[in-house]
């Protein structure tokens, strides 16, 4: 065992010497219940999980660095690709943060359209998650039904923006296109349909015995844990803390259409199921209200090529929770630095806390409970605890390290 921070065998930094390696069950990075690679060290006592150590960085994509080589407008499409589920949330957070450096007043109609797309995306993200819970608990019928209903939202996306997943719809100073003609009635009809489905699913997840047995009391956290570990989004709201950026720091048109923040005080997976369904219902209401009250007018101003110099921080309520963007401009065609704090980054420690005390069979359900998106989250930091310093690794150093690592005959 070495002290090198690049040596994954080094346990010095994790403070885990008291747990013997015989009790370690590796979960990931490649595991059937993880759709994205991430490694969780599970320390067991018998069947019970006593300690969980997440190890992140397996799908680090260097997007923050890539952003520095692209223009302001090109970056919108780059940041969309951080996440395939909440792609609009990322592009909106970036656009709003960049807009703060400019003197633009985004047209009201554009702000309403942004709200509609963002809320549709919340519905789609929550439905996708509900389907996945069905999948992890072996309830394939729920999975198929929910995903079939999710198709309605994707079709709406296609009608409005032209794309199903990466909408490429937002732009600095507004949105790229106006709503298509005759969208009001179909949108209202779909929202009504989905509200009906949500009623049905709420009934189903709270009465279906096998599903209740798998979720009630599983992954329970209380407010103290939540205050200590600072999760965001539904994971925080399910402990009874009503925090929602849409209400606390309104953006888009949330100052005029105020969402009702739903909370629960159970803090387990069963309450997360009901909470997210409530949020879908609320989003349906917001979309219906927005399409009725939408004002006429422009949807964008002239899109700038250059953003004035300055620093800006912005945050929005993505489907998974609070999403932070930091943008620094030197006044040029490209951003000088973009820093992203995704929701999963904030939630992953809480998820490890939720796992403690449960059995191995609960791991997929609990990990899904936080709605993980490891691809969005991954980052690399090199820390030497012994010397108390932190530094970045250059590409060439990493390459050499990789060559050394895989040298034949290396002692592991």
């Amino acid at each position: 065992m070495t002290d090198s921070p690049l040596d994954p065998k080094s346990e010095a930094s994790a403070g885990l010497m008291q747990y013997s390696p015989e009790n370690l069950v590796p979960f990931g990075p490649v595991h059937p219940s993880l759709k994205e690679p991430e490694y969780f060290k599970l320390y067991l006592e018998g069947e019970k999980i006593v300690q969980v150590v997440p190890r992140i960085g397996y799908v680090h994509r260097g997007i923050e660095r890539a952003a520095q080589d692209r223009t302001w407008v090109q970056n919108i499409y780059l940041f969309e690709r951080i996440c395939g589920i909440c792609s609009f949330a990322h592009s909106m957070a970036y656009t709003q943060t960049a807009e703060r450096l400019t003197a633009f007043e985004v047209p009201r109609r554009a702000r309403y359209i942004r709200l509609i797309i963002a809320e549709l995306e919340r519905i789609h993200s929550h439905l996708l998650w509900l389907g996945l819970v069905g999948y992890w608990t072996g309830f394939d019928t729920l999975f198929m039904w929910v995903w079939k209903d999710r198709e309605h939202i994707l079709d709406l996306f296609e009608t409005i923006t032209g794309n199903r997943v990466h909408k490429s719809f937002i732009t600095i100073s507004g949105v790229r296109n106006d709503l298509p003609e005759n969208i009001i009635e179909p949108l209202k009809k779909e929202m009504k349909y989905l509200t009906g489905r949500v009623d049905y699913y709420s009934d189903l997840v709270s009465t279906e015995e096998t599903l209740v047995a798998r979720t009630r009391g599983v992954g329970r956290i209380d407010q103290d844990v939540a205050r200590r570990l600072c999760p965001v989004g539904p994971l925080l709201r399910c402990t009874g803390i009503a925090r929602d950026i849409r209400k606390e720091d309104p953006y888009a048109a949330y100052d005029e259409l105020v969402p009702d923040v739903k909370t629960s005080n159970q803090g387990d997976i069963a309450s997360l199921l009901l909470l997210r369904l409530e949020e879908i219902r609320e989003s349906c209401r917001l979309v219906t209200d927005a399409i009725e009250k939408i004002p006429a007018g422009n949807v964008k101003l002239a899109v700038p090529r250059v953003i004035p110099a300055g620093d800006s921080v912005g945050h929005i309520e993505a489907p998974r929770g609070e999403l932070f963007y930091f943008v620094r401009s030197a006044g040029g065609m490209k951003p000088e630095r973009v820093k992203i704090r995704t929701c999963t980054m904030a939630n992953i420690l809480t998820a490890t806390e939720m796992l403690k005390g449960h059995t191995l069979a609960d791991v997929p359900v609990v990990l899904t409970g936080m709605d993980p998106c490891f691809g969005c989250m991954d980052r690399i930091a090199v820390v030497d605890v012994a010397k108390g310093k932190e530094w970045s690794v250059r590409g060439e150093e990493l390459r050499l390290h990789g060559i050394n690592w895989y040298k034949p005959g290396r002692q592991t």
Partner: protein, 321 residues
């Protein structure tokens, strides 16, 4: 003698039941897909009916990989033995008449032995492959087996008690008046629940939970071995449904007008198939409507609910008869 062997191998014996196993898989995939809002197989044959056959022959033609630290003898000779259990069992099922091809006064004991042997072979196969997922899967399978076997045995001997006969022929004959499902409905329900556990169908697909254990104890199998393991599981599916039909639904019996012998045989076959598919559909419906329970919850369910219920039904019948 020779025609009995021919019947056992062709109709209504092994070949017929293997054909039924393919039809069952197709029906399961099709009905479950319809229940879930999908279409199901459509490519091979009309409405995709040949899809299970195509899948089987595709697997047979694939490369077989034997894990380096597997117990090679058991790993290679296990699948045929695993297949043999339900394949031998099917000849005891009366299909085209009130009596089966092979009949013995102690049929029920042999059927119970076959069911136990199936689970035993699954455990042997899983342990022989020595994979991590297989080992965990087998641990769960054995725990599940110890939970469901007792209610299943009690549910199987209840009809025997009603008929005062341990042979399947005798049980079928005793149901010429009233089917045992009406006399012992709880036993039938317990049998179906235990059969779901034996077949590893939701909510008891715990030993092969795909989101936790890839394919459970079948993870390391590939090629021909996997093809036979899968066929065996489908054959067990038909076999257990057929036992349910024989024990509780009167087997092939039904209203029988006076006709030539072959027309009567045909009518018996139709009755049998209708009942068999009815039991099959019951299992499809249950499996697509439920989520998977945890192994401790499954054990709790069997020991605290299913076993006492089946014992209660047995006790009531013993008191009344």
């Amino acid at each position: 003698m020779l025609d009995t062997i021919a019947e056992a191998l062709l109709f209504p014996g092994l070949t017929f039941f293997v054909w039924l196993a393919f039809v069952f898989e197709w029906l399961e995939r099709k009905t479950v897909a319809r229940m879930q809002g999908r279409i199901g197989p459509v490519v091979a044959g009309p409405a995709g009916i040949l899809q299970p056959v195509a899948d089987f022959f595709k697997l047979v033609g694939k490369e077989e990989i034997i894990p380096a630290f597997a117990d090679k003898f058991v790993f290679e000779f296990g699948p045929p033995l695993f297949f043999a259990a339900p394949a031998i069992g099917v000849v005891f099922i009366p299909v085209i008449g009130p009596s089966a091809l092979v009949s013995h006064p102690l049929d029920i004991i042999f059927i119970l032995f076959i069911l136990a042997f199936s689970a035993f072979m699954a455990a042997m196969l899983g342990y022989s492959s020595a994979g991590r997922y297989s080992t965990i899967g087998i641990g769960r399978l054995i725990l599940q087996y110890t939970s469901y076997e007792i209610p299943m045995i009690i549910a199987v001997i209840t009809p025997a008690l009603l008929a005062r006969d341990l042979s399947l022929d005798g049980i079928v004959a005793a149901q010429s008046g009233e089917w045992f499902i009406f006399l012992a409905p709880v036993s039938f329900a317990c049998f179906i629940v235990a059969a779901l556990a034996e077949l590893e169908k939701p909510p008891f697909d715990i030993p092969s939970a795909k989101t936790e254990l890839v394919a459970g104890w079948m993870t390391e199998f590939s090629g021909r071995a996997l093809a036979y393991v899968k066929l065996t599981k489908n054959l067990s599916y038909v076999f257990l449904s057929a036992i349910a039909v024989t024990l509780f639904l009167g087997g092939p019996l039904g209203p029988m007008p006076a006709m030539v012998w072959w027309a009567q045989d045909l009518l018996y076959l139709v009755y049998f198939l209708v009942k068999l598919f009815a039991v099959g559909f019951l299992i499809f419906a249950i499996r697509s409507a439920l989520a998977r329970v945890r192994i401790d919850q499954a054990a709790g369910l069997f020991w605290t609910i299913v076993t006492p219920l089946s014992l209660l039904q047995l006790g009531i019948i013993m008191l009344l008869r």
